[in-house]
């Protein structure tokens, strides 16, 4: 038997095939088609964006090398600073709020699995699979000053002063867009956490109860450590979505009124295409990518540390 295998292996080295799982150049053969596409349309353009960001270029004619001057301009660009600030406000609405909300609800539903959960899970997840353009149009209607459901409902319960043109208001437009993000994200977080809680060993809760732990300490010492992986996934998914925000803003406010809802993605688009400050726009794209990288690495680092502490 062993002889047989060796023989076939030898034959394979002679050229016909290779043994799966061994050091083997055939791996490259399977890898190359996908890798070529990814390099051509992912990594190469990324490198190009870095390259563009050192130039002054209108999209036509010659590029003018200006070193880091685009980045220097960014630092003093009032609108860009506003955009970064707004993106971080959005992180609060896309990440912090949905996660807290979902954690709270998960605790209320802890441990015992409920029959019919699949139905709720399916429904709660729906906002996440709808195109952001549709989400934007839907909420534009919800917030609409003319017959929009939110204002109609507010007036119906007597809160006439609260009714307003939410997306046209300097103070309220950004929180309104943030609210849309919360709406998209809380179902995702709930589904994640509920799935996670159901994987926690129930005897841990029993043990905690015997030790006299109340609801809060059960949460702190059993639920939270049990959910650390889901928490990390939720943090990464939602904060990256907040930093990338573009479609929703485009459809609801286009950055207005004024620049009160301007975000990095939209400002980059404006400079790249209508305004043709291609190099400058490229530097914004790079800043966004670096921000996302930093957040990703920071979350992973915190997760590593917590895993050690909670283990």
């Amino acid at each position: 038997m062993r002889q047989e295998v060796r023989w076939r292996r030898n034959r394979s080295i002679a050229g016909r095939s290779g043994r799966v799982g061994e050091r083997n150049w055939l791996g490259y053969l399977y890898l190359i088609p996908g890798l070529v596409m990814y390099v051509a349309f992912g990594l190469y353009p990324l490198a190009d964006t870095v390259h563009y960001s050192f130039y002054d270029w209108s999209g036509f004619g010659d590029k003018l090398f200006i070193g880091l001057r685009n980045y220097a301009t960014l630092v003093h660009d009032e609108i860009f600073r506003q955009a970064i600030f707004n993106n971080f406000i959005l992180i609060f609405f896309y990440t912090v709020l949905p996660i807290l909300l979902a954690l709270f609800l998960t605790v209320l539903m802890t441990a015992r699995p409920l029959p019919g959960m699949t139905f709720f899970r399916t429904g709660l997840f729906i906002p996440h699979v709808i195109p952001m353009v549709v989400v934007g149009i839907t909420w534009r209607w919800i917030f609409s000053p003319v017959g929009g459901p939110l204002n109609v409902a507010l007036r119906a319960v007597g809160l006439h002063d609260w009714a307003k043109a939410w997306l046209g208001d300097f103070t309220w437009a950004l929180p309104a867009i943030g609210g849309i993000g919360t709406w998209v994200m809380y179902g995702l977080c709930m589904v994640l956490f509920i799935a996670g809680v159901q994987n926690i060993d129930e005897t841990l809760y029993d043990a905690a109860k015997i030790d006299g732990a109340g609801v809060f300490r059960q949460f702190r010492y059993v639920t939270l450590p049990g959910l650390h992986h889901q928490l990390m996934v939720a943090l990464i998914l939602t904060s990256i979505t907040a930093l990338r925000a573009f479609d929703v803003v485009w459809v609801t406010t286009r950055g207005g009124p004024g620049n009160s809802t301007m975000v990095i993605g939209l400002q980059m688009y404006r400079h790249a295409f209508p305004l043709r400050n291609v190099g400058y726009a490229a530097s914004m794209g790079i800043v966004m990518t670096v921000l996302i990288l930093v957040i990703w690495v920071a979350i992973l680092a915190v997760d590593q540390r917590l895993r050690r502490e909670w283990a």
């Binding site: 016909r16 050091r23 791996g27 996908g34 990594l43 353009p45 563009y52 539903m109 709720f120």
Partner: protein, 278 residues
């Protein structure tokens, strides 16, 4: 007996069910409302946003097809999504197989490169994509969107399929090797028949993400719109006509919704499970 247990469960957990109902309602009410608006007239809408349509109107959809060129947008989206999903799944299976079942020099570095690919925002690529594809004369052709969407779907797909191939017991492969299988026939006859659910989940995720894609479609097909871009542009002109907009929104979201509902188990596992494990 079953019915009895059902009521027992409902009674014992009614508070939790109530809470879930409230949050479920908040999650889907806005969408139900915009779909309802699609079947109303302007006058019907004025009767209040919470009312059901007095009679179900289909004029708004007809107007989309006649005046809004939505037939073209729909066709564009379909013609683009099919090769994107098929192409990405095929390439991802191949490269996932490479990572999961072969040891080769540089595989570690290459896997980090793919990991980078699932977190890079499209904003980091969109500008050069536009200028490079313009230089090739592809802007506004289907290829201008199909090729980048495949290239940018491959990193996630590869890591996804890698996760699957890693789980397959080595004995299965060994057995096939003893039978004299080439690596190709081991993939084709042994692994792929097992990979059905994983591939289906991947296809569902890629369908929804790419169908919903906005930024790349907006930039790379500046006049030949896909559904989401067409809808966004349409909104610019018909801002006040909520019923027509509702019809457009309905048409745009329904394909994603259908794929999601049919494959929801796979879909949720796709997002909550594999995606970013370690």
């Amino acid at each position: 007996m079953m019915v009895h247990l059902y009521w027992l469960n409902l009674c014992r957990n009614w508070r939790r069910y109530l809470l879930l109902m409230v949050f479920l309602f908040v999650a889907i009410y806005p969408l139900v409302d915009i779909v309802l608006a699609a079947f109303k007239t302007e006058a019907g809408l004025a009767r209040g946003p919470f009312a059901l349509p007095a009679e179900w109107h289909f004029d708004n959809f007809t107007r989309l097809w006649k005046g809004g060129a939505f037939a073209d947008y729909f066709r564009n989206s379909v013609v683009i999504i099919i090769p994107v999903v098929l192409g990405s799944v095929i390439l991802s299976v191949l490269s996932g197989y490479a990572f999961g079942r072969f040891h080769f020099w540089g595989s570690r570095v290459l896997s980090y490169m793919f990991l980078l690919g699932i977190m890079m925002p499209y904003q980091a690529m969109v500008i050069p994509l536009y200028y490079n594809l313009r230089a090739m004369g592809l802007i506004d052709t289907y290829g201008a969107l199909i090729l980048p969407l495949i290239g940018l779907s491959v990193p996630f797909g590869t890591l996804w399929m890698w996760g699957f191939f890693r789980e397959v017991p080595q004995e299965l492969i060994d057995a096939s090797v003893i039978d004299g299988c080439t690596t190709w026939s081991a993939l084709w006859h042994v692994l792929l028949p097992l990979a059905g659910p994983a591939m289906l989940a991947l296809a569902a995720l890629l369908f929804v993400w790419n169908w919903n894609e906005f930024l790349l479609a907006l930039v790379l097909l500046p006049t030949n719109f896909t559904l989401p871009v067409g809808l966004a542009m349409f909104q610019g002109r018909y801002l006040a006509e909520v019923p027509v907009l509702g019809a457009g929104a309905t048409v745009t979201m329904v394909p994603s919704l259908i794929v999601y509902i049919i494959l929801q188990r796979h879909f949720i596992r796709g997002i909550t499970g594999g995606a970013i494990q370690r």
